[in-house]
């Protein structure tokens, strides 16, 4: 089982990247779980035809008890199992604890054992803030991190913060950075800026996604581009990213059939 956490500045396209990556992996036959770790709970929307899954924390708030397996998430495009941690009412409580609590629940309900995914993707809010937001990269969770950034100054700044945090965690056996996903915003010298950032940290650029109206077009329809039109050039970029990340690892389900 491969577990990858996707971090980046808020609004930079983490959820888009994660959902498209999940869809691409699913299209290749992999069983994927995507977990949105953000109180906004909008990570998996475009895998679900725009009908959001009920976040675990919302369920809890409404029912005063934790969801059972049937209510923890829902399957979306390509069988991607979608989970959103959600969070407390904005301005109250502790969002980081919401993530930790959800992870505990996944463990208790044996969600991974039951679904037996090939890949788990954690889509994590912005910069690393409290301990809860680092939970996805603790031992036993994600082993690899993708940082999504554009060439915008603030996005790179956030990326730098994230890599610093990750470096601080190195001696604790937390996840390491697999590489950068450049999500273009068409700022001047974008590629050069991101490339020099990547080189400075020794991170490879795993994917270079151009700004694309097709992504917006299909998102308006509650879809990823992979679902909308897998033949598009941008879809093929996500497919390539998925293949690069998986390397030789084959989907388990194929093995099951043989």
């Amino acid at each position: 089982m491969k577990k990858i956490a996707i971090y980046g500045k808020g609004g930079i396209g983490k959820s888009t990247t994660t959902a498209n990556l999940a869809a691409a992996l699913a299209a290749d036959g992999y069983k994927v779980i995507q977990i949105g770790c953000d109180p906004k709970a909008d990570s998996t929307m475009n895998l679900l035809k725009g009908v959001p899954v009920q976040p675990v924390m919302d369920y809890y708030r409404l029912h005063d008890e934790e969801p059972d397996f049937e209510h923890i998430g829902r399957e979306g495009f390509g069988g991607v199992f979608c989970i959103e941690t959600g969070g407390p009412t904005p301005g109250l409580g502790c969002a980081g604890r919401g993530i930790i609590a959800t992870f505990d629940l996944l463990e208790e309900l044996e969600v991974f054992e039951r679904i037996r995914p090939d890949v788990v993707l954690y889509d994590v809010l912005g910069d690393v803030v409290c301990g809860g937001f680092a939970a996805p990269i603790r031992e036993g969770y994600a082993e690899e991190i993708l940082i999504v950034t554009s060439g915008e100054k603030m996005a790179l700044y956030a990326a730098d913060n994230i890599s610093t945090a990750v470096r601080n965690f190195e001696d604790r056996g937390y996840a390491h950075v697999r590489g950068i996903v450049l999500n273009r915003r068409n700022v001047p010298d974008e590629e050069e800026k991101v490339r020099s950032f990547a080189e400075k940290h020794g991170f490879p650029i795993c994917a270079d996604i151009p700004r694309s109206d097709e992504i917006n077009y299909y998102e308006d329809r509650g879809m990823t581009v992979i679902e909308g039109d897998p033949s598009l050039p941008v879809s093929r970029l996500y497919m390539q990213l998925a293949r690069d990340l998986m390397g030789d690892e084959k989907p388990q389900r194929e093995g099951d059939h043989e």
């Binding site: 407390p88 409580g93 502790c94 604890r97």
Partner: protein
Amino acid sequence: MIDEREIKPNIPVKIPSKDGCEANITDVPFPVPFPKGLVYAPPARGTWTIAHSPMLIPGCHEIYVCCPCCLHGVVLSADEIPDGGNSRFSMVTLTNENVLKGDLEEMMIEGVSEVLKGLPEMPRLVECFTSCVQHFLNIDLKVVYRALRERFPGTDFIDGYMIPTLARKLTPDMLGRRQLLRAASMKRAGKDETLREKRDRAVSLIVNYYPLDPDSELKELFEKEDYEVRDFASCKTYEDYLALADSECALVFVSASLPAAKDFQKQTGMDYLYLPYSYSFEELRREYQTLTDRFGLNMPDPEEYERRITARAREVSELYNGTPLVLDYTASPRILQMALFLLENGFQVKAVYTDAFSPEEEEVYNVLREKYPQLLIRSTQHFKMRLLPRDEGKKEKLIAVGQKAAYFTGTDHFVNMIENGAVLKGDSQPVQLYGYSGILHFLDLLEEAFLRKSDVKSVIEVKAFGCSGRIGGEA
């Protein structure tokens, strides 16, 4: 017969050196003698706890709103208070759910309401305590108490705090004392101006946990001049407590009560005088001078008192005949002064247990360094103190003043003194020893401790004098 392994298990530990937790006074810095690391909490607590002190206000009901681990200690401390301490204590348990949901205000309002509705009688005063976690998550207490006051208009509320992690300017003890007066000061502040201007011919002793010794010359002096002495620690009714805010002036004996006095002054305009417990003739003279100037009292004859004290001290020190004494900081806020007094009067003070010196004792610290450089300073909470043998008092006769000193030396001879309070011979309740009569009583206690053994363990395992303080009066 119970198996030895059950009651005295053999635990593999290595006895450490004394470096870092014991040194001559000349070798320790002021005001923090030892570096702070892992903290050992010895079973001898000595001082009062946050659960005990509100019980001194008649008719006060305590409600703790905290996590179970914080609650466990206070509920068991309250439970130890005889005569129904437990019936004046309730709690609302904070859980992870509240942290997640962020419904901290709502859970507190509803939980406290639930407790109050279920009580056989609505208390006059409720002190609610919130804990570190709620404050870390920025609970809005204004919302909470506004709602509670609206729901229960006949009851006063005090916002209590149990937030040791967040202690900054005020220690938990200082903050606790300050809040204890809040209901009285709010009542007075709420009165109209003409009523507020009128003050009673009285002084209020704030905030001490034991009543002033009735034999004290201080009391006598005030009463001779028709001043009523109102004592926080001996209020019999809730009205007595409220009346603390109507006196002319407040008297403060311990520095930990100074923030309370300052706050009282701010809220009610009442002056205060700080008259620390003292073992210095010079300082006592100054204190009495201040009092006579302020209230027109007749100054007691200091020379007569000093002569009596010196004679009595000689008598007791001759009995001691060089027997060593060890003191700890819980016995008196002026522990170095006490040590100096004893040393100058022929006693052999071997060591003082403390983890911090009072800023007020810097001068005494310097005198001790110069005149008695052999005096040992010992930590009570350094991690090594857990493992160092506690058998000094078994090897030689040794008298301890204070519960921690008794615990660490293993002696059977000790003066059970807490914050300058003690139970005097023939009494059952502790009183606070102030002034000249206080020192004379202290010398009596030293004599008694020399002559008689006590069952140290059973005495000090229970916090705060076996909770035999006058608890609650007649509510």
